[in-house]
């Protein structure tokens, strides 16, 4: 039963954090800003900036050259005029000399020469000569059309109908069906995968954001000397408990706000998603997610408060907090590996590893059909971690919060942990 003193500290934390303008900013604008940043990153990766590209396509036979001209002239980027393609026919043994003769052009306006030898109709190997030979945009745009020309030529003498040729050109499409114990076999969209990434991202964002705020708030209390006044009324344990519980409640409210569109999606039929985005996540899962999040948040709040208590200077604290940040970042990166194989060995181990399980297990649980026992084990691991971390953090906090002077070394901090009382 928390004392009225802890409740007073919790109330102050909530008043300061939950009722502040920065909470509204952090809750609404922060995810939007992060998404914009990530979108911009994706845009930058996709951005080609290849307007004005000039390519020369060279083949060994006039027939193949003509076929290329016919197929490539239908390409959108050629029609629009953003790319220019010229054509030529050169025998294989003369190609090196030909490229040599084009050297001055290749160093200036000519982007590259694509050489399609006759033997490409057997091994599909073409050559690309350019001053910058690793231009992905050239390969991405030309790979398909060159392949189509080769396919057309290859099957020309085999008297195939256009329908048959289209079939040959088409790649295989996998339709995914989920087979589970309880439900019947049904088609699976990419909804769960999207949610898995969203969950990992929100956990990462919230743990780091709230944790850093707690660390700053502890440091502020320490440097402004208000902590000594507080400690005359509350014990350091009560103060730390009040702070981390208050921050966890704030983070929980924030997470519920972030998840509210999803709650609406699950609990109501107001929005119907296309089959492609179909997902099978229930309200029960969200309850588990929020419980796991709360325990994880308490653990990390304890660690961040501990770091805040150790250091007097924000710059020193930024260095000192790195190990804690890594405990959040590494599991977040492990969740990326689950996009290719949700059940990969690294993810399986991480989903039961202290600290990592906080982020990895909820994401695995959305992607892999598993009994509730496994998330339960993960929760028990989290509770055990909490039971170990909080007393340790409390001891460091108690000594660190009143300490001034030079920054303590690891040895000294360990001595604080071992100190009795």
């Amino acid at each position: 039963m928390p004392s009225y003193r802890i409740l007073s500290v919790i109330k102050r934390e909530l008043r300061e954090k939950l009722m502040s303008k920065s909470f509204i900013f952090m809750t609404i604008l922060m995810p939007a800003i992060m998404l914009i940043i990530m979108g911009f990153q994706a845009l930058m990766v996709l951005y080609q900036g290849d307007k004005g590209t000039k390519i020369e396509v060279v083949t060994e036979s006039a027939i193949l050259t003509e076929e290329c001209r016919k197929v490539f002239s239908e390409l959108e980027f050629i029609k629009e005029g953003s790319w220019t393609i010229t054509y030529n026919t050169v025998p294989l043994k003369e190609i090196k000399g030909y490229v040599d003769s084009k050297k001055s052009e290749l160093l200036k306006e000519l982007t590259g020469i694509i050489f399609i030898p006759d033997k490409a109709l057997i091994d599909k190997n073409v050559e690309y000569y350019a001053n910058i030979p690793n231009k992905l945009s050239v390969f991405e745009k030309m790979n398909g059309p060159v392949n189509n020309v080769l396919i057309d030529q290859y099957f020309k003498e085999k008297t195939l109908s256009p329908e048959e040729l289209n079939f040959v050109r088409r790649s295989v499409k996998f339709n995914n069906f989920k087979v589970s114990k309880e439900d019947k076999i049904e088609e699976q969209g990419i909804g769960n995968m999207i949610f898995s990434f969203v969950f990992a991202f929100l956990l990462y964002l919230s743990l780091i954001m709230t944790g850093t705020m707690t660390m700053s708030s502890v440091m502020e209390e320490k440097t402004s000397k208000v902590v000594e006044v507080l400690l005359s009324s509350v014990s350091s344990k009560e103060l730390m408990a009040g702070k981390i519980i208050g921050s966890t409640i704030t983070a929980l409210v924030q997470m519920i706000i972030w998840l509210s569109p999803m709650i609406i999606l699950i609990a109501t039929s107001w929005i119907t998603l296309p089959v492609k985005f179909k997902f099978d996540i229930g309200l029960g899962y969200l309850v588990y997610f929020l419980f796991n999040f709360s325990i994880g948040m308490l653990i990390f709040q304890g660690l961040f408060a501990m770091v805040g208590a150790i250091f007097n200077d924000p710059q020193e604290a930024q260095q000192g907090v790195f190990p804690v940040i890594f405990l959040i970042m590494i599991p977040f990166f492990i969740t990326f590996s689950m996009l290719r194989n949700p059940d990969n060995q690294l993810a399986v181990v991480a989903s039961y590893f202290p600290f990592a399980t906080i982020i990895v297990m909820p994401c695995r649980y959305t992607l892999v059909d598993m009994s509730f026992i496994y998330p339960l084990i993960s929760c028990l691991i989290n509770i055990a971690t909490l039971a170990i971390i909080i007393p340790v953090a409390g001891k460091v906090y108690r000594v660190g919060i009143l300490r001034t002077g030079t920054k303590p070394g690891l040895k000294e901090v360990m001595r604080w942990v071992k100190a009795k009382g």
């Binding site: 007073s8 102050r12 402004s224 000397k225 006044v229 005359s232 009324s233 509350v234």
Partner: protein, 307 residues
Amino acid sequence: MPALEVRKLTKMFDLLKAVDTASFEVPEGSIFGLIGRNGAGKTTTIRMLMNIYMPTSGEILFRGRPVDHEFRARVGYLPEERGLYKKMKVLETILFFAELKGLKGKDATKKAKEYLERFELTGRINSKLETLSKGNQQKVQFISTIIHDPDFIVLDEPFSGLDPINTNLLKEIILEKKRDGKVIIFSTHLMDFAERLCDNIAMIDKGKIILNGDLNTIKADFSKNNVKLTYEGDIFFLDNHPIIDHISDFGNSVGISLNNPGQTQELLRLLIEHNVKIISFDSANISLNEIFIKLAGSPAKEDLNLA
């Protein structure tokens, strides 16, 4: 039974003994001064009284019982290094500290407003603390210390950094609280403040209590051999004179410590013989500062200036 009893209190920081087997008692309804120069161990002792530091050994008894949460709720503490939440508002701050002590609701608001009026801060009730002057912030801190009407008021260097008006206001409230039967414990390195306010003192030097007890009794004991002299002329002839133990020079006056009480008349005779113009000759008078010098050697610079 004393209100507070400190028994053989020791605090070690690694190899440094900050407080060394300190023992003293604080009687009920008294003003108690823990005095000593800077770095003597006053703040460490007070932090142990407040349960902020765990003593390495020794015990602290509050009305015969170890200090606990009950003591915390009945104590008001003003630390040496003042600190408040800069972004919080004046009334909000006072009410938060009151709530930590178990006082809330209308009673707390009413009392807070009364104190704010007395300290002429009513107009700043909703101002953020960062917008207040240092003096006004100190007032808010002091109100937060006494808002819950504590039985014990513990003030660590309460007068440092205060202007004369606020110093008088603080003294006024300390005396008022004493009249209400409260126990006031304060630490200071300013001997004249302690001398004017305290009923009992404990003098601490290098972590050890070198003197403690009722201030009047202490002064009576130490003043037997002492003469406070205000004069014009030259008294160098008294240096190394056989009747003189030592002389403390305070600028306008001197404190002369004799080797035995019967030599007062002899001193007077010597002064007249050497044509020293005596403005005042006060036998059996000694300042706390002189006692401190006698026991702990040279005083801290601040002490000399203020004596």
